[in-house]
């Protein structure tokens, strides 16, 4: 693309250098820089592999175990970990290994889907508010402020007890709680991008609005969105397990890490393995997600508080 | 005897990408009551040299590798402990910074900050300190000082905030005031006022002033002597007369040519081609010759050029860089 404008006589006399804008833009792009920094962050990298393992363990594992998660065996209840049941059995004789795997499916699945829900709501809300600006923006953010002040967990508990417990309701409720933060973050990012000089520079170079939005604004917003999405997943998983712990989440016989931990908590005195194993998986996953999210945040914006 | 005598100051920054030689063997001195200007572009080392004197360089990754800075013939600033430096900062040497908008603590009233500046170094009662602070504000031209002093920084405009900074710096009657780009962040109309204020306060206190700037115009009316820095070294040093009328180093000449003058209306601006060098790489010879687009005779490509005395007051670093002539950039229209 050539920058063709009406050049003044002296401008025309500058040596003609063919400028390949695309090549310049693809040089060391934001993403390549970020990827490089991320690779150097060993903790984040390790977390990535751990999460990969978790995904395989939970989603593929159940196909490989001899037991399934719901068949009860009242003659083998509350067995300690052993050869036949590497994670032991629960109070109804169900194999804990498979249950932990399936529980992981539920927890991770809820995490991802609910995060996606909150992402969709939050990004569109925040971007719209920032894009439209002015009074509409002020009003939209005022609503967010008021909602922020509401004691959401209480409402969530209310909703889950009142209405029929379905997985869909669970997703909606959890997603509805988390979108607020995403909206605020996206709005902040879009607003600051609007003001930034490189947008003005792009405009003055004659780039079309569409190009500006797609090549400049969206990639920058995407970065922030990816970071916060990665940090939202553990928050969502916490909320889901919290609900399951209270008996308000996923219903038996479907396990989730939260309900498995509840069973373990009820039996700590005699059967600690029922608590320790699911708790370990749960915490490790949360840990890894948080470290990865932190690592992504540092990779995309190295000016954050680390240095 | 000069109030400050700096010999062979070297400050390097040890980073992951290499060792940046920000200040590489700089020597200068300042006499009592005189104004020294240090001119250079970003990265020339002008600010880092003065920050080194005050001990304000973050010690990892920065490190003062060598040199001496004798204050008033007695103390070497570069070998002082932190405690000793604290007694000197704000008392013997004060500093004001570039951006007055961010240089004052927004959470504290101006009165608190000024009283602190005084009580840190003198035993005075709070009441006395407050009175003297009010007086100091009046001296820098802030009206209704006794009421305004209770304001928070954001209640002042940029120019007024810089006046507050000057008042705060001078309230202890320091021997030296270091002003790091004091007018760069201000409106043009305010710039002249602030410079005038600095000069006036300087005379009233008989302080020396080190004025750091990238703007030759700022230096013109104010400074008795001027050091021009490039790539961590001084390339020319002399009186204002020497620098403006008898400049010899090509960099100084180029700087002067870049000042737009009223007569050159309609003509393109003179720019120095190329970019300053990467200070993390060792530079064997003349750093200025390394600029792309400049030709040189090649004499100092691998031998470091020395500072040569040209007259009683005037020193120049050897260089055989040939600047593109003024006319090359202008075309017949």
């Amino acid at each position: 693309m050539s920058v063709n404008k009406n050049l003044s006589p002296s401008e025309k006399r500058l040596p003609k250098v063919s400028v390949d804008i695309d090549a310049i833009e693809s040089g060391t792009s934001l993403w390549q820089d970020a990827w490089y920094r991320l690779k150097k962050n060993h903790l984040a990298l390790a977390s990535f592999w751990v999460l990969g393992f978790m995904a395989v363990f939970c989603f593929i594992g159940p196909f490989l175990t001899p037991n399934d998660f719901q068949s009860t065996d009242l003659e083998s209840t509350l067995l300690s970990p052993g050869l036949e049941h590497p994670f032991g059995t629960d109070d109804l004789g169900r194999d804990q290994l498979t249950r932990v795997m399936v529980g992981g499916r539920v927890s991770l699945g809820v995490g991802i889907i609910a995060t996606t829900v909150s992402l969709l709501i939050g990004v569109s809300y925040g971007a719209t508010a920032a894009y439209v600006g002015g009074k509409v923006d002020a009003a939209m953010m005022r609503i967010v402020d008021v909602l922020y002040a509401l004691p959401f967990t209480i409402f969530v508990i209310l909703l889950m007890t009142i209405f029929e417990r379905s997985i869909v309701l669970l997703f909606v409720v959890i997603g509805a709680v988390e979108w607020l933060t995403m909206a605020r973050i996206v709005r902040g990012q879009v607003l600051s991008l609007k003001k930034q000089e490189f947008v003005e520079a792009a405009v003055s170079l004659g780039y079309s609005t569409r190009r500006i939005i797609f090549r400049h604004i969206i990639p920058n917003v995407l970065g922030v969105v990816v970071v916060y999405a990665t940090l939202t997943v553990p928050a969502v998983m916490l909320l889901e397990s919290f609900l399951s712990f209270l008996g308000l989440g996923v219903q038996p016989p479907m396990p989730s890490w939260g309900s498995l931990i509840k069973l373990g908590a009820d039996n700590i005195q005699l059967y600690p393995y029922l608590l320790i194993i699911p708790a370990l998986f749960f915490s490790t996953t949360l840990f890894s997600l948080n470290f990865l999210g932190d690592g992504l945040r540092d990779a995309l914006d190295p000016k954050s508080s680390k240095d | 005897m000069p109030i400050l005598d700096v010999k062979d100051l070297k400050t390097y920054f040890h980073t992951r990408n290499g060792t940046v030689r920000a200040v590489d063997g700089v020597s200068f001195s300042v006499e009592r009551g005189e104004t020294l200007g240090i001119v250079g572009e970003s990265g020339s080392g002008k600010s880092v040299s003065c920050y080194s004197l005050m001990g304000l360089i973050p010690q990892p990754p920065g490190r003062i590798e060598g040199g001496q800075a004798i204050l008033d013939g007695e103390v070497d600033l570069l070998s002082c402990s932190e405690k000793e430096l604290q007694k000197i900062r704000g008392k013997k040497i004060s500093m004001i910074f570039q951006d007055p908008m961010t240089s004052l603590n927004p959470y504290l009233r101006v009165s608190t900050q000024m009283v602190e500046a005084l009580r840190m170094h003198e035993t005075v009662t709070k009441k006395e300190a407050l009175n003297r602070s009010i007086q100091a504000l009046e001296e820098v031209g802030i009206t209704e000082a006794s009421q305004r002093i209770l304001f928070y920084p954001h209640e002042f405009s940029g120019g007024m905030r810089q006046r507050v900074m000057i008042a705060m710096a001078m309230i202890t009657h320091p021997e030296i005031l270091i002003a790091d780009e004091p007018t760069t962040a201000l409106d043009v109309t305010v710039q002249a006022q602030i410079l005038e204020l600095i000069r006036e306060r300087q005379k009233a206190n008989n302080s020396a002033v080190i004025l750091i700037t990238h703007d030759l115009g700022v230096v013109a009316g104010m400074c008795d002597r001027i050091n021009v820095m490039y790539a961590g070294k001084i390339v020319e040093s002399g009186t204002a007369d020497d620098i403006f009328y008898k400049a010899q180093h090509p960099y100084t000449v180029a700087l002067q040519r870049s000042i737009p003058s009223l007569g050159s209306k309609g003509k393109p601006l003179y720019t120095i081609p190329g970019l300053p060098p990467d200070l993390s790489q060792p530079i064997p010879g003349d750093a200025f010759a390394l600029r792309e687009g400049l030709t040189s005779g090649g004499k100092w490509d691998s031998t470091p050029p020395e500072l040569v005395q040209v007259s009683d007051t005037h020193w120049v670093r050897e260089s055989d860089v040939i600047l593109p002539p003024l006319e090359e950039v202008l075309d017949a229209e």
């Binding site: 008021v146 002040a149 509401l150 004691p151 959401f152 967990t153 209480i154 409402f155 508990i157 209310l158 909703l159 007890t161 009142i162 209405f163 029929e164 553990p234 916490l238 919290f242 712990f245 209270l246 939260g258 931990i261 908590a265 700590i268 005195q269 600690p272 608590l275 320790i276 708790a279 749960f282 915490s283 949360l286 840990f287 948080n290 508080s305 | 005050m54 304000l56 932190e82 405690k83 604290q86 900062r89 704000g90 004060s94 500093m95 910074f97 951006d99 961010t102 240089s103 004052l104 603590n105 927004p106 959470y107 504290l108 602190e116 500046a117 840190m120 170094h121 928070y152 954001h154 900074m165």
Partner: protein, 306 residues
């Protein structure tokens, strides 16, 4: 500034009103009623019970009556238990209040010093070690940490009871469970806030004035550095409340949290509403206080028009 406070109080009342209304109708919308839980009741007895409690009137009328009583301070009778809601809450609220207070105390007394130290000694062991442990605290939710603490200190070491709220020592494990998690979060926020201030230009000015390092930290940095923590205290309180639901369940504590969950299960309308109102008032009050404190500390917030 007083205009600001008045405005915030007005907002808080509106928010409270919205919460009460929404909860009221949400609970009424639920399928079932308070009497169909336990045993099958003959229809006519159920009808007369409903009439007795005024549950047969149209919803809007019930709403109006409720508000009228609310203004008088009467939260109504419980449908499931025999005592009135006021009496029930009067015995469970102080318990939860004490639990929450201890938890908050632990969170601040551990979190603040750790965060400040980490910021001052950035990138050293005093920074990495506590921050990594803090990460642990954030990822170990109360319902994981609680049982583990109970297991280690209650069952294996036998130092504490694993349930009950009788002796002073019973407070320790539950308060720690909630407190440690929030200590971790507060530590991270404090560190971030302090570092943000320490990188500002005016800290350099203070140093150039000859201000010694301890004073720079405590006099110049702390005010601004703690602002993020203070604004976090609102959500922290909400979090401590929801933590109490879990902790009171695990450690069998007769507090409002445990009660709230069971009253929601039992569709005990008035008790649920009463509890929600109490919580909402607490949180709204806390947010109000936090906002006012922020304005006091940060003078730039006082001039909302500029």
């Amino acid at each position: 500034m007083f205009k600001f406070i008045a405005k915030r109080i007005g907002q808080s009342i509106v928010v409270l009103f919205v919460i009460i209304t929404v909860t009221f109708f949400m609970v009424r919308l639920a399928p079932g009623d308070p009497f169909s839980q336990e045993r099958k009741m003959p229809e006519h007895i159920k009808q007369s019970l409903m009439a007795h409690y005024g549950l047969d009137k149209p919803v809007l009328v019930q709403y109006g009556n409720y508000l009228k009583n609310l203004v008088k301070g009467d939260l109504g009778p419980s449908y499931v238990e025999t005592r009135s809601v006021n009496k029930i809450l009067a015995s469970s609220f102080p318990v939860s209040l004490e639990l929450g207070a201890w938890a908050l105390l632990i969170a601040l007394c551990i979190g603040l010093p750790v965060g400040i130290t980490a910021a001052v000694f950035k990138n050293s062991v005093a920074d990495y070690l506590p921050m990594s442990i803090a990460m642990l605290g954030i990822c170990l939710p109360t319902f994981v940490l609680g049982p583990i603490l109970a297991l280690v200190f209650g069952v294996w070491l036998g130092w504490f009871n694993v349930s009950g709220w009788f002796i002073a020592a019973d407070r320790v494990l539950p308060a720690l469970t909630i407190g440690l998690v929030y200590a971790a979060i507060i530590a991270r926020i404090t560190r971030g806030g302090m570092l943000e201030i320490l990188s500002q230009d005016f800290i350099r000015t203070a140093k150039a004035k000859g201000v010694p390092f301890p004073r720079i930290i405590f006099f110049h940095t702390l005010k601004g550095g703690l602002l993020p923590v203070i604004s976090y205290l609102g959500p922290a309180l909400a979090g401590i409340i929801s933590g109490s639901f879990v902790v009171e369940t695990i450690f069998q504590i007769p507090g409002m949290g445990r009660q709230f969950v069971s009253s929601a299960f039992n569709r005990d309308y008035t008790l649920v509403l009463g509890t929600v109102i109490l919580y909402a008032t607490l949180i709204t009050l806390a947010n109000l206080i936090v906002d006012v404190i922020q304005v006091i500390i940060n003078p730039r917030l006082r001039f909302e028009d500029s």
